[in-house]
Symmetry: C2
């Protein structure tokens, strides 16, 4: 028997409100946020955030954890995160930055950011392209790992990273800013984690933004045999930060 229209509608309604959808988008970074942080991020009264969080937790979209006087919430699982990402991808029309501050924020996030637990933005898409060009991933029948890819990723991330448990190893995710796929799934998460551990990628100037370090740029160029230039040309020549060839990826300006 099919799912009833009523329950589908009720589920969709959870995301059909700007406040609730903003909460979910914020939580796509995979972290747990407190109720107060969310109220501040989304720009609503604490009472409103509290009410909406209760709704989302009650519906199972979010999981909560009470610690002392804090209420931490996070997305309840990667299926939820996936469907939110897919909807966001289809919703399309990216917001147009209105202020200089917003345009800085947009530039930083477009360069390199996290998407739930993997890398996105120009960096994420650039890596994905490099993997395909190097024959590490094949896109013939959906995206899959080649033999070469298997050994390449094993060398970089270790054996365990290639053993997916309870979750697809390879998934692609439509990038909001680039409109092209980047690597998600268990391997996408492992890659993100591995690059962080090596210090090749570090937290960026604002939530969700990340930066490719000097070491990371060198290391990846060596491993992938290409300079990893952002495909969309350089950006970020707004006065704060030295616009270099890699500025589009939020690379360190220390060079």
């Amino acid at each position: 028997m099919a799912v009833s229209p009523t329950s589908l509608a009720a589920f969709a309604a959870l995301l059909a409100d700007p406040t609730r959808s903003a909460i979910c988008l914020a939580l796509l970074d995979g972290r747990a946020w407190t109720a107060g942080e969310i109220a501040a991020e989304v720009g609503v009264a604490r009472s409103t955030a509290s009410e909406q969080l209760t709704t989302l937790v009650g519906a199972g979209l979010l999981a909560e954890e009470r610690q002392r006087r804090h209420r931490y919430v996070r997305l309840s699982g990667h299926q939820i995160a996936t469907v939110i990402e897919d909807l966001a991808g289809l919703a399309g029309a990216p917001e147009v930055p209105r202020s200089l501050r917003e345009s800085h924020r947009a530039r930083d996030l477009a360069a390199a950011r996290t998407c739930y637990d993997h890398l996105a933005g120009a960096l994420g898409v650039g890596l994905y392209d490099a993997f395909v060009d190097r024959g590490l991933l094949t896109t013939a029948d959906g995206t899959a790992l080649t033999a070469a890819g298997r050994s390449w990723f094993t060398e970089l991330l270790g054996e365990p990273a290639l053993t997916a448990r309870g979750r697809p190893l390879i998934r692609t995710c439509l990038d909001w800013t680039e409109r092209r796929p980047h690597l998600a799934g268990a391997l996408g998460a492992a890659l993100h984690h591995g690059l962080r551990e090596r210090g090749w990628v570090v937290a960026g100037p604002r939530p969700r933004a990340v930066r490719l370090t000097e070491a990371g740029a060198h290391g990846l160029e060596e491993l992938l045999g290409r300079p990893m230039l952002p495909s969309t040309g350089d950006r970020g020549v707004e006065g704060d930060g030295h616009a270099g060839a890699l500025a589009g990826w939020g690379r360190e300006a220390s060079a």
Copy 2:
């Protein structure tokens, strides 16, 4: 830059209404429906259906085609179908049948039905299980075709069926009734199409329901080396139809 909460909310709102979600669920069968058919199926006034169709078409969820005095609508693409399926899967709670008529309908659809353009229900899940057991599909890193699977499907469906264009060859879709995956993607569609062409599967007693024919049961048993019994035990012993071992799949009662 990230998708704005507003546009995500606006997109989700399209599915957040029982009438619109019912329209989308009906269209998941992949066919084009006229506005009047939809009004009747969903149970609203023609004027209401007309208004909602205009909304959904305007938003890009549906594509329309005007022919003479008819207005045909269908889902605008498989990305849309996929996200609706995913949401429906997460929405979970299948409707509880209230009347005998509804319970018949539920039983027929649970046995075997179409899900957009591929097979679902006990038949769809049973086939998927058989493919995995026979080593035609591997589920190690997400679902993929093995070498054995490649030749098996080529033999059954012909070479072109294995050449996906613009769409993943293999996808799985969470079955609403079975709560387990069935085969979707280009190969799922090709399989459905191929079985129809051979007359192994035919239209069932109501929209979206399908029936496995005698020939189909024999043919699949021969090709898969298993009797394809529904895993949930037999059903449909409601007085209309001879409950056989395959009754759960809507198999012909002509035996």
